[in-house]
Homo-oligomer: 485 residues x 3
């Protein structure tokens, strides 16, 4: 889902030929397999460092092979994306559609997208079809109106499309397989890139992504334009709460409460099936364990918030308190901020804030017969991304550098290291500069004395003063001795 992931990777073929020599770098960090193109990077390294005579054992070989395979399917599958570039256009579009399906959860991975579609089919085939149509037409429309090809290839124009398609089917009151629905579905999907582009023009001023705002705008637009009493496209009826609901704490069903965590993740795509939610969790884990962890935390936070605010248990079981928190927690926890313990706490705080906001927005929207969609997530995540702080460990990545949490983290570490080195160098230079300055002073003093007999006493004083400020007494002393000669 991030803004403009224009990852530039080397050609895949180059990577392939060099895989046989992979074991030589098996002691790289565990996170590296999740990087965009670790194999290519290692080959580059290899060229610089001539291979030693040590032979890896079979265990190491196996581990390396495994990591290599993990690197192919985890992260953003950049190597696969690169290979795709040479393929037939329809195959490419399929790749973009699958990435778009996964980008809803900020995952830029066609395999995750495939798994997610499997989960959707398990839930409801008509919904899955609508989701597919939505993603497809959103992607096509982005091509037509001349959007950035790299962004399209990363699925950044598809994820709003899948949500528009899915949720229009979910909230339609005309029942499944009402084929006319495909017409507004296609229209709204094709409007997605237009709204995305317009919003990006605004949000880019603050270096912010558009999140699922286009989906929220367009689905709400469709639902409120037609409404419950429409002849062609009737919508499910949402009504504001006008009386006290029952709330007996003894009736709290703990298994259902626990199940609400995967259901909450499933509700990101409007699915109330716990198995579908579980499948989505697998899809997340494949691409990025950090994303998976924050999704789970977010869903749990949402559930707890629901209990704290005395929400009807049915809503909590149904995952309505979870899905916004899931997205908000992922976005803040490692995706747009580099993951540190401070940003992790911030992500949890954002999830709580999002749950509160979710309840508020759901009540407001029900006045218009609308669901909350993912407005709460968008607004809370944007709020938390707009914070300016003096704490250095809360580092918001430039939008162009955002990929996935693990790679973001590596980018952050690298940047910090470079900063430290630069700082050290600067200090060293400072030291040297002050050293040179002192030397100059001494030299000037010496010169002033000219060829006259140099009073030893004066030199001593000079020496003493300069050494008091600096640690390098000896060198100066010897220098002075030299000049005295």
């Amino acid at each position: 889902m991030p803004g403009t992931q224009l990852t530039k990777v080397g050609p895949l073929n180059l990577c392939r030929t060099s895989t046989s020599q992979y074991p030589t770098t098996q002691n790289t960090k565990e996170l590296q397999p999740l990087m965009a193109n670790p194999v290519c990077e290692t080959t580059e390294k290899k060229k610089q460092q001539p291979q030693g005579p040590e032979r890896p054992n079979s265990h190491q070989k196996f581990k390396a092979k495994l990591m290599q395979w993990v690197s192919y399917i985890a992260g953003d599958m950049a190597a696969f994306g690169e290979w795709m570039k040479g393929q037939f256009i329809l195959l490419q579009i399929l790749d973009w559609v699958l990435r778009g399906a996964a980008q809803v959860m900020f995952v830029n991975n066609p395999l995750s997208g495939l798994i997610i579609f499997a989960g959707l089919i398990l839930q409801n085939r008509w919904w899955a079809l609508n989701g597919f149509v939505g993603t497809l037409f959103a992607t096509i429309s982005a091509l037509i109106i001349g959007q950035n090809r790299g962004a399209i290839a990363n699925g950044l124009y598809g994820y709003n499309g899948i949500l528009v398609g899915l949720l229009m089917a979910v909230f339609s009151n005309a029942g499944d397989w009402y084929w006319w629905l495909l017409l507004p579905n296609i229209f709204m999907s094709m409007a997605c890139p237009i709204v995305s582009s317009a919003l990006a023009s605004i949000n880019s001023r603050w270096d912010l992504p558009v999140f699922t705002l286009p989906f929220n705008i367009l689905v709400c637009l469709h639902m409120v334009a037609t409404g419950h009493y429409n002849h062609h496209f009737p919508q499910v009826l949402f009504q504001p709460r006008t009386s006290m609901h029952n709330l007996t704490w003894s009736e709290l069903d703990y298994p259902k409460l626990f199940r609400s965590i995967p259901v909450g993740i499933g509700q990101v795509y409007g699915c109330d099936n716990a198995w579908t939610g579980g499948i989505f969790m697998i899809a997340l884990f494949i691409s990025s364990p950090i994303t998976f962890a924050h999704a789970t935390i977010g869903s749990a936070v949402g559930m707890v918030s629901g209990l704290a605010l005395a929400a009807p248990f049915q809503n909590i079981y149904f995952g309505l308190w979870g899905y916004n928190c899931v997205l908000a927690c992922i976005a803040i926890g490692g995706m747009f901020y580099a993951l540190t313990w401070q940003t992790h706490l911030l992500a949890v705080a954002c999830a709580f804030f999002c749950a509160y906001l979710g309840s508020a927005i759901a009540n407001v929207m029900s006045t218009f017969g609308l669901p909350a969609c993912t407005w709460p997530f968008c607004l809370s995540a944007l709020t938390f991304l707009l914070i300016t702080t003096e704490i250095k460990n809360i580092y918001k990545l430039p939008l162009a550098k955002v990929t996935y949490p693990e790679k973001n983290l590596i980018y952050f570490w690298k940047m910090k290291k470079e900063e430290r080195i630069a700082k050290q160098r600067k200090e060293q230079e400072k030291d040297i500069a002050s050293q040179q300055k002192k030397e100059k002073i001494i030299m000037a003093a010496m010169e002033m004395k000219g060829r006259q007999h140099l009073d030893a006493c004066t030199v001593d004083v000079l020496q003493e003063e300069s050494t008091q400020n600096r640690p390098d007494r000896k060198s100066e002393a010897t220098e002075l001795n030299l000049t005295q000669l």
Copy 2:
């Protein structure tokens, strides 16, 4: 309606004296009569190119005279505006008020404004009076709070005033000739330039116009502040739809459906009289045929959308589906984008989007007892103007250059031509540079040989190849030979 039309035209008197020599340039493009000050421009040209001996015939003379007269009343009547600058202030203000009345439809033309006022009087004299008061006080208020005089003279502070005045009268439940209404009317009209200026501060960051947003804000503000149950200023009652309405397709009245096109244009000013709408169409045609064409297309698109979304026929006949699309289609089709076939399609797409949005906003606003006003137009047009694209033929004009579609088009063509010429020149320079480079190499080679005997044959070959400007394998080979000698 555009942002800051500060057209700088030469004095009218100069133009007048030179009109007798107009026939000499009668073979200029047909669009030129619609330009701001074609006569002045032609006189300037004339001075540079001494007149030839050819005498125009009477037909040509007549055509030229006609075009000259057209140039006085079409477009933005810049010559008239220039002449006005020397007149009495009250007369000037009248000009500004008339321009303001027409600027609602993006037309900067006092004659169109006069015709529009005629249409309003035909509809309802009380409304027309309120509209006039609104425009007048909005213009005066803009003068008081020190706004840009050029913008005021172009009616850019009046068009929100006329809409505020008109619609406050239209939506008032106190009946016609309720004189107290003039008080809030004057107050709200005078608030127009304040809100305009504030919104312009925001929108100018994206080089966007404020459209009719001040009107929308202020009329909604007045209506919701007082409401249906107010003692002083009761409003017409708007209520949300709470049940299925009747929809029998056999009852569709085609003549009424056809009539909804002019009615839709009339509804821009809140008028439901088809004749008034027709008069407005004449006013548009006088100033700019492109604007007229897009207004008609927009109204038709709105009507079709209404049918597609199963709207009550009465609303469609009443023009409620048309007026926003009219404005949106004009704005995108040639006004803020230069007119190409791509932007024409974009304008049609925007009109459809606007119709959808119109239905949505009407339903949302009815919850608060409010009409949709022109919110749908503003939001859809702003969205479409915020798009960034890699297609070169979708060119958004800088706000300061926006005048009217025909002149915008000429500006776009001119710019494109200049770009092409600049590109050609650059390429030529490149060619020359590479040619010179090659010559230099040859010269260097010659020099290297010094005073030795130069093989005439080799040199000829070298020369030939370099002038062919081609992948210089051979020349290099020969050069090499030369140096090897």
Copy 3:
């Protein structure tokens, strides 16, 4: 309440030691006692101008002493704030909390804060407690998330906290001393700096303050998230008006109408007690008489607007029409614009606009069961701060320079004076330059003549020409004479 008041003042001790010599500068302007650190400034002046032999009489002495004491408690009490910096952290936080309490009314003064708390306790001790908790936790949260220490010390992160705490208690339907309320209170207070920081990121692009927007957002969020029918945190019921209310003008109660002015000021903190309002007025007067005056005017304007728009008398008596106008009038009248008669009128216009907007927003919000909060103030003040104008006397201070009306005014005067001096100097330089130019011409003419006999006639012509452009004929003439010698 202003954005980033980072006043840098000299150490207090320095000021203290020099106070005995204060009488020497007793003829400074009356406004100076309200400046940030007048004593320090005068001491600085003193150093430059050696004290004369004149001895001040006892009356002058008394007046000076009084002004000195006034300077300690009036304005933003910068000297006290400076002294506080060396104190124990808990004492510092108390200072920040008190300043935060007063910053609601744009007053950066702990004494005013103390008086305001006294007023709150008089109104309702439970509310006062909630307000205190809100301010405290908002300040602590700002420290945790690493906000600017100077802004925190000026109470800029506390004022939203006190409003959140107070109003959550005011609008709670669970009755006083419902201790569970402290939980959401603390949560929402701690969210204040987050929302403040996010909004500041947006508003700073237009150099605008965030006003009470965070409070509005968070209280509305809490109220609509829980609602009237919540088990844990039920809210007071707000419902839209659905029928005509009674309005008999003969029943208008003038004493109550008059009392609505202090009540309106009290309602800024949600208090309906006229005495509390009166206490708040004292708190304002202590810090800044201009603020006090505009608060009173604002409240009166609100009351008049309520009558004009036929509001139920009960609402007017209850101060609901006043509090937004109070804040809007203070903000525009001297706080963010330098006070001139133009901005004073603008402030009154803004108050009227705000009253209108207040009625509109109250009606809209009641649809969601919400009160208007201070949305009307925020929106109207932001609108009026966004105006761009060609009138030089409407000067919007840079946000970093905003302190309190009196000091702002001095800043504006100083700036104007500097501008005038710069202009004069420029003109003088221009004069000198043109003078020199003329001399050069004459000199050149003389040289041209060389050593030849100079024709008197030519010189005269030269002289004449030069004098036509300049008034100083004589000097030139004499110069010429001189050169002729």
